[in-house]
C-alpha cells in the first residue's frame, strides 16, 4: 500500500475516528440496563423507577417527581392511606432521584407519562432554582436528549456528549451479554421492592448503610446547620434581569415537564419542599403560577424538631408533610 502524506493521514484518522464514535452512539441497548447502571449508593431509586413504570401493572394515579427532598418528605403508602381515609382511592409513587437538576426530573417525567396513564403529576419546587444540570443525566437520558440538550449555560453539555459513546458501547455489550445469558451474577441491584419505595423510620441506601430518620436535633444545632448551609449557597451571579440566562436550564426543562404533561392531558401540581428556615413562598413558582397550582406545606414545617438536616425532614416531618399533602390532594378533583 502506498505511503501517504501527513495531511491525508490526519484526514483519514479524523474521519475514521468520527465514524467510529458515531457508530458507537448509534448502538442499541435495553433501556432497563440503563436505569440499572445508576445503582450506586447515592442514587438508590433509578433501578426501581424503571421497573415500577414498565414492569409493575399496579396503577399510578399520582406521581411525585423531585429530589431527595421529595424522597424524604412524601411517604407514598401513608399518603394512599390518608387519601383513603378522606374518601379518595388512589395509588401513589414517589419517583425521586437524589441530587438536583431539573433535566433529570424531566427524563423521569417523560418516561412515566409516555408509558403510563396517570391522573396527577406532583413536581417538586424549591426556594432556589438550579443553575447546574443533574450530574446523572448522562446515565438515564435518551441519546436524543443528550444530543439536543441546550448548549447555552449547560455546564455538562460537552462532558455528556463526550461520555455518550462510552455509555452506548458499554450498554450495548451488556445488553448482548445479557441476551446470551452471560451477565455475571451479582451485577444487578437488589430485587424489586414492590409498587411503593418509601423510607420510613430508617433509610437503607444501596451501600448497605442504615440511616435513622428519627433523629432530632436541638434548635441550636439546626441553627448551626442552617448557617453552614447558608454560607455554602452561591447567590445569583447575574442581575435579576438576566436570570433567564443564569437559570435557563432549570426553566427550560421545567417548561418541558409542563408541556409534556399537558400533551398527555395530565395536570401538574407543584409541591414546595422548603429548607429549614426557608422563605414561606418559593420564588421560582411565580413564573409557572399560570400553569400549575402549588401545594405549600411551609407553615407545617417550622418546628426544628421535624428536621434531620437543613434540607430534609425527619420521619416526624415526613409524616406531617405527607398528611398535609394528602389533605391538599383530597381537596382536588383529579383523584376523585
Amino acid at each position: 500500500m502506498p505511503a501517504i502524506t501527513l495531511r491525508r493521514f490526519l484526514r483519514l484518522f479524523a474521519v475514521s475516528a468520527l465514524a467510529g464514535v458515531a457508530a458507537m452512539v448509534a448502538l442499541p441497548h435495553d433501556k432497563f440496563l440503563r436505569y440499572q447502571a445508576l445503582n450506586d449508593g447515592s442514587a438508590p431509586t433509578a433501578y426501581w423507577i424503571y421497573e415500577r413504570i414498565h414492569d409493575d401493572a399496579t396503577p399510578i394515579d399520582v406521581a411525585f417527581i423531585g429530589t431527595s427532598r421529595t424522597g424524604m418528605s412524601v411517604h407514598s403508602r401513608r399518603l394512599e392511606d390518608e387519601l383513603q381515609r378522606r374518601g379518595v382511592t388512589a395509588k401513589a409513587v414517589n419517583l425521586y432521584l437524589v441530587k438536583t437538576g431539573v433535566n433529570l426530573q424531566y427524563v423521569v417525567a417523560r418516561e412515566l407519562l409516555e408509558a403510563r396513564t396517570i391522573k396527577l403529576l406532583v413536581v417538586e419546587i424549591d426556594e432556589r432554582e438550579d443553575r447546574k444540570p443533574h450530574p446523572d443525566f448522562i446515565y438515564l437520558a435518551d441519546t436524543s436528549d443528550i444530543l439536543a440538550a441546550p448548549l447555552l449555560v449547560n455546564l455538562n453539555y460537552l462532558s455528556d456528549i463526550a461520555r455518550l459513546p462510552g455509555r452506548q458501547a458499554g450498554l450495548f455489550i451488556e445488553t448482548q451479554m445479557r441476551r446470551s445469558g452471560l451477565q455475571a451474577p451479582g451485577a444487578f441491584p437488589p430485587p424489586y421492592e414492590g409498587p411503593n419505595l418509601d423510607h420510613g423510620q430508617f433509610l437503607t441506601t444501596l451501600d448497605g448503610v442504615k440511616h435513622d430518620r428519627r433523629v432530632v436535633h436541638t434548635e441550636a444545632q439546626m441553627a448551626a446547620l442552617r448557617a453552614a448551609e447558608d454560607a455554602a449557597i452561591t447567590p445569583p451571579l447575574l442581575p435579576a434581569s438576566m436570570s433567564d440566562v443564569e437559570f435557563r436550564l432549570s426553566r427550560y426543562y421545567m417548561v418541558r415537564i409542563l408541556d409534556i404533561a399537558a400533551a398527555h392531558g395530565v395536570r401538574v401540581v407543584f409541591l414546595y419542599t422548603p429548607r429549614y428556615g426557608g422563605p414561606n413562598q418559593p420564588q421560582p413558582y411565580l413564573q409557572y403560577a399560570a400553569r400549575a397550582d402549588l401545594i405549600n406545606p411551609w407553615s407545617q414545617l417550622q418546628d426544628y424538631r421535624l428536621w434531620s438536616d437543613v434540607t430534609h425532614v425527619n420521619w416526624d416531618g415526613a409524616q406531617r408533610l405527607t398528611d398535609y399533602v394528602a389533605q391538599a390532594l383530597a381537596d382536588r378533583t383529579e383523584l376523585r
Partner: protein, 497 residues
C-alpha cells in the same frame, strides 16, 4: 492533567500543538521551543499550582549548581555535586519518606508519633532522578546546558514530566537544538499519533478494565478477607497485566506525544513478560529506571569492580533502594529485596558458565519464561498490596490446599476473564509497540527502522505501519474505541511514585 482526560486530549494538547506548530510555520522556531516550556509548566501547575514552585525551585537550583559544576576546580566540583545530590535527595526524602521514617523510628523507640500531612508533589521522584543524573553528567563533562529555558524544557517537558521515561540531557539537548533550527519531519507526527493511540488503548482498554479484578482481590486481602485460590490467582494475574498495560501505555503515550513535537524519548518497555530470566526482565521492564539505577547507583557503589561477592551485594542494595524509590512502605522494600535476591541468584547461577552456548530447546525456553513470570508475579503481590499481611494472605491463598473457602469478590466475572485472556495474549504473543511501528529511540538511527529479520513473522511482510491509509483508519478507529472508555479516567499507577 491525565493524558487520558478530556481536558488534556481536547484542550491542552490541541492548544499546545497549535501554538507550537503555528509559531514554527511563521519561522519562530526558538519561540516554539519556549512555548513548549511554558505549556509544560502549565501542564504541571494544573495538578496543584503550589507544587509548581517546588518544581521551578528545583529546576533553578540544579541549573545553578550545574553551571558552577562545569567551571574548573576538582575539589570544588566534588563538594558542589555532593551538595546538589544532598539537596535533591533531601527534598525527595522529606516529601516521600518523612512520615515513613518517623513512624518506624518512633515505633522502634516506643514513642507515639502522629503522621504529618505531607502532600507529595506529583512526579517528584522522576524530576529528582532526572536532575541528579544531569548533575553527575555535568561533573563528568558529558553534557552541559547554558540556557535556562532549554534546561527547564529538558526537566519539565510534559510528556515525561510526571512518570518518565527518565531522560538524559545528552540525549535531549541535540534534539532541542534541532527543533529550534529545522523543520520537523512529518513522519514524526504520524508515528507519534500512532504510538500515542496505542498507548491510550493499552491504558483505557486493558489497564482500566483489569483494575477491577486487581482491586477487588487486593482490597479483600488487605482487609483480611478469606480468599479462594482462583480469586487469588485472578487478582495476581490481573495486577500483573494491569501494571504492564498501565505503565507501558503511559510510556507509549509519552513517546507519542514527544514525537508530535519532533522529539524522541527513550523506549521504556520491551515485552518484559517474554523474558526468560530476571536479569533479562530488568533489561526489558522500566528500562530507563534500570539504566539509571545501574549508572548512578550500582556503578558508584562499586559495580563489579571488587569481586563477585561485592558485585552481588551491590546488585542487591541497588534493587532494595530501587524498591524504596517506588514508595515509602515495607511492601516496596520487600518487592525490591525480592528482585534483588532474584537477580543475585540469577547471576550466581551463571557464574562460571559459558553464555555463548547453543540456542535453548523451545520447551526449556518456555519453562524459563514461565518461571520468570511466576517470580515477577509473586513480587508484584508485595508491590500492589497495601499491607504486608495482605500480601502474605494473598500468596498463601494461591495454593488450593491452604486457601480458605471464601466468597468470590465482586467484579470477577466474564468481562474480566475476557480482558485477562486478551491481555495475556497481547503481552505473551504480540509484538510490542516499538516493534509494531518500528520506532527507534537511537538518534543515530532513522526514526522508522527498515524491514529486518528481527520482527515477528506476523508483521514481517508488511511495510512500515504509519505510512498506509489502512493504518490511519485503524488508528482513528482505535482512538474512537479508546475515547469511548475515557468517561471514567483512572490515574496512572506510576503517578503515585
Amino acid at each position: 492533567m491525565l493524558f487520558n482526560s478530556y481536558a488534556f486530549l481536547f484542550l491542552f494538547l490541541p492548544l499546545t500543538l497549535l501554538v507550537f506548530h503555528g509559531l514554527r510555520s511563521r519561522g519562530w522556531l526558538g519561540g516554539s521551543v519556549a512555548s513548549l516550556t511554558l505549556a509544560s509548566i502549565a501542564f504541571y501547575a494544573y495538578w496543584r499550582p503550589p507544587d509548581t514552585l517546588i518544581l521551578l525551585g528545583s529546576v533553578l537550583f540544579n541549573f545553578t549548581i550545574a553551571r558552577m559544576l562545569v567551571q574548573p576546580g576538582e575539589n570544588r566540583s566534588r563538594v558542589l555535586l555532593a551538595l546538589g545530590i544532598a539537596v535533591n535527595l533531601g527534598v525527595l526524602c522529606y516529601f516521600k519518606y518523612f512520615n515513613f521514617l518517623a513512624t518506624n523510628l518512633a515505633a522502634a523507640g516506643n514513642i507515639e508519633y502522629i503522621a504529618r500531612t505531607i502532600v507529595m508533589p506529583i512526579g517528584i521522584s522522576f524530576f529528582t532522578f532526572t536532575q541528579i543524573a544531569y548533575l553527575v553528567d555535568c561533573r563528568r563533562n558529558r553534557t552541559s546546558e547554558p540556557n535556562l529555558v532549554n534546561y527547564a524544557l529538558f526537566v519539565t517537558i510534559f510528556p515525561h514530566l510526571i512518570a518518565g521515561p527518565i531522560i538524559h540531557h545528552a540525549q535531549m539537548r541535540p534534539q532541542f537544538v534541532a527543533i529550534a533550527r529545522q523543520a520537523i519531519d512529518p513522519e514524526y507526527i504520524k508515528m507519534g499519533m500512532l504510538i500515542f493511540v496505542i498507548g491510550l488503548a493499552k491504558k483505557v482498554l486493558f489497564a482500566d478494565n483489569l483494575v477491577v479484578g486487581a482491586d477487588a482481590v487486593f482490597n479483600a486481602a488487605d482487609h483480611g478477607a478469606s480468599l479462594g485460590s482462583a480469586a487469588a490467582w485472578i487478582g495476581m494475574v490481573s495486577y500483573t497485566l494491569q501494571i504492564y498495560f498501565d505503565f507501558s501505555g503511559y510510556s507509549d503515550m509519552a513517546i507519542g506525544l514527544a514525537l508530535l513535537f519532533g522529539l524522541r524519548l527513550p523506549v521504556n518497555f520491551d515485552s518484559p513478560y517474554k523474558s526468560r530470566s530476571i536479569i533479562e526482565f530488568w533489561r526489558r521492564w522500566h528500562i530507563t529506571l534500570s539504566a539509571w539505577l545501574r549508572d548512578y547507583l550500582y556503578i558508584p557503589l562499586g559495580g563489579n569492580r571488587h569481586g563477585e561477592l561485592a558485585r552481588l551485594r551491590n546488585i542487591f542494595v541497588t534493587m532494595l533502594l530501587g524498591g524504596l524509590w517506588h514508595g515509602a512502605g515495607w511492601t516496596f522494600v520487600i518487592w525490591g529485596a525480592l528482585h534483588g535476591a532474584y537477580i543475585v541468584v540469577n547471576h550466581a547461577l551463571h557464574i562460571g558458565k559459558d553464555r555463548s552456548a547453543l540456542p535453548e530447546p523451545r520447551h526449556t525456553a518456555a519453562i524459563k519464561q514461565a518461571a520468570t513470570l511466576l517470580l515477577v508475579m509473586i513480587a508484584w503481590v508485595f508491590f500492589r498490596a497495601k499491607t504486608v499481611p495482605g500480601a502474605l494472605l494473598l500468596l498463601q491463598s494461591l495454593v488450593p490446599a491452604t486457601a480458605a473457602p471464601a466468597q468470590t469478590p465482586e467484579g470477577l466475572g466474564l468481562v474480566l476473564a475476557f480482558w485477562i485472556l486478551a491481555g495475556s495474549a497481547v503481552v505473551l504473543l504480540a509484538p510490542n509497540t516499538q516493534q509494531l511501528v518500528r520506532y527507534s529511540d537511537r538518534l543515530a538511527e532513522p526514526l522508522i527502522l527498515p524491514q529486518g529479520p528481527a520482527w515477528t513473522a506476523l508483521f514481517a511482510a508488511r511495510p512500515a505501519l504509519p505510512a498506509t491509509p489502512a493504518v490511519a483508519i485503524a488508528c482513528g478507529l482505535l482512538f474512537a474505541i479508546a475515547f469511548a472508555q475515557l468517561w471514567r479516567p483512572q490515574i496512572f499507577i506510576y503517578f503515585n511514585f
